[in-house]
């Protein structure tokens, strides 16, 4: 089985690093995985996308993810149905926002059966890192909402990437985000309200 994740963020928020950290965690979990960005001449603030694929099989396509199982939206300004295109039935969307999940579901026009996880990753990042770098918070939210990789190896992957104090702060951020993420399943009633 293959799980496909698509990441939407803005340059500087760490979408690419997060996509890689999830693949690293999956590899540490004993799976095969690929992570790669949609490459552009990266500029701070420009919309970026990245992809992660996790599989039990070593043969994984190296094409852009067009039908994701999981979508991660790192920037609240990217809350638009355009970014949820191709989301598989019963897929999960993980969003950095302060808005209620039910409202987000309507904004993104999610279908019944899909799931949504919300976290105020910007707030958490400002509190813990004192910087609006939201990617590690989104990792905690992703793990909570989907369990696609283990929390333990997600922390390990981040510690392999960032050493010392920065590593510790980011692990704390993952832990807090994991705890504070709210996950709901989208039911018909939610959408017609």
């Amino acid at each position: 089985m293959m799980i496909e994740i698509r990441w939407h963020g803005r340059g500087g928020q760490g979408a690419v690093t997060a996509s890689e950290a999830v693949s690293a965690a999956a590899i540490l979990d004993g799976k095969y995985a690929l992570a790669f960005p949609e490459f552009g001449a990266e500029r701070r603030g420009a919309p970026v996308r990245a992809y992660t694929r996790i599989s039990d099989d070593p043969v994984i396509p190296r094409t852009p993810v067009t039908t994701p199982d999981i979508l991660v939206i790192l920037d609240p300004s990217l809350l638009h149905p355009e970014y949820t295109q191709g989301l598989k039935r019963n897929g999960t969307v993980v969003v950095n926002t302060v808005i209620q999940p039910e409202k987000i579901a309507k904004i993104l026009k999610l279908k019944p059966g899909s799931r949504i996880g919300v976290i105020n990753a910007t707030g958490l990042a400002m509190e813990i890192l004192k910087k609006p770098i939201v990617n590690t918070g989104m990792l905690g939210a992703l793990v909570k909402a989907t369990g696609v990789v283990s929390l333990e190896n997600t922390k390990k992957a981040i510690l392999n990437k960032f050493s010392g104090k920065i590593g510790e702060l980011n692990v704390e951020l993952i832990r807090r985000a994991y705890k504070e993420t709210i996950v709901i399943e989208i039911k018909k009633e939610v959408l017609v309200q």
Binding site: S19, E20, S23, A24, I27, L28, G30, Y32, A33, L34, A35, F36, P37, F39, A41, P58, V59, I60, P61, R62, T63, P64, T66, A157
Partner: protein
Amino acid sequence: MTLAVKEEIRKGLRKPMPMSTNTAIATAARDLDVDVVSAYPITPQTTVVEKIAEYIADGQLDAEMIHVESEHSALSAAIGAAVTGARSFTATASQGLALMHEILHIASGGRVPVVMSVATRALSAPISIWNDHSDVMNARDSGWIIAFVSSAQEAYDTVIQAFRVAEDPDVLLPFMVVYDGYLMSHTMEPVITEDREKVLAYAPKRDYPHKLDPKNPLTIGTITDPNWYYEFKYQQVEAMKIALEKFREADREFGKVFGRNYGVLECVHCEDADAIVVANTSYATTLKYIIRDVREQGMKVGLLKMKLYRPFPVEEFLKATSSVDTVLVVDRAISYGAPVQGPLASEINALYHSRGLDTKVVSVVAGIGQRAFKDDDAKYMFKLALESRKAVPEETIFYGVRK
């Protein structure tokens, strides 16, 4: 991967680590204990030599890192180091490989076993930092051994094989390990690395036979008059033949020692196929994934993944495609104005004709400047290969272009 290796992974004796192909290549250079690395940064290669610099700074590799002012100098310095007997490595891409062009021929003509990794990228103008194979296809006649790899693991393994073959006293040719910029260079995936002792036992440092030595002076690359130049060039022809045999042997041995090998090419579902798609690097992986779906839909297609490109594994290629009447070749470079404008397709066409075979060759150009190649595109390649059996397109298909 052999069952024994899979079992070792399961037991946790071997742990695949997440790394990009660029990091995997740098790690191979570390594990091969290279002596000299000379390089000039260019996207998307740069992180290869950055990682090597890190290994040197951390004390994991005892090598001389030479910072030069251009790729022309990078390869020149690597050659200079190699002819003193140092194990030498460099890396480049795109304009960098183009700027090296003059020195590529000096490396092969001088029989200097430098190993270089190439993270393929389009050529200017207009500027594109993205992937295609224009750079490496421009270098195909430079006398280098050229191998295409399709994963970070294969890149790691092939750099190790490359030093063993290049430095073989019966070969002494430079070796280029080629992979896709971005689609592989910056993609994270699992890689198993090996102990340096084991790597060096497989690819031992050898004594370069005509090395520069102040105590025993000699000159390399002197002017050679019409009476002898041709013989030097013909020796390169012969060396390529030997390189093919040595590469086959090195690959088999690699499989025995490390439990992984790739052959000079790989064919998937070729035995009972009606048509075969030929591709390399990242496209081969994608097509290998998609072929399962199209096979399930009843399309009798095969996939041939090109690994060794120079020397071209003629016998293996002909054998692998012997059962089909049509092959479709996906090229990611354009041979402008040529009769067949996909360079690999052109060669394969020539090969069949030279052997008196009437196998049809469909030439498809795709992925120029990293124009996206998605799952549906991969599916279409198989479909087109089958459809072309009835009537083969006369001209190269420029797939996905806005005309």
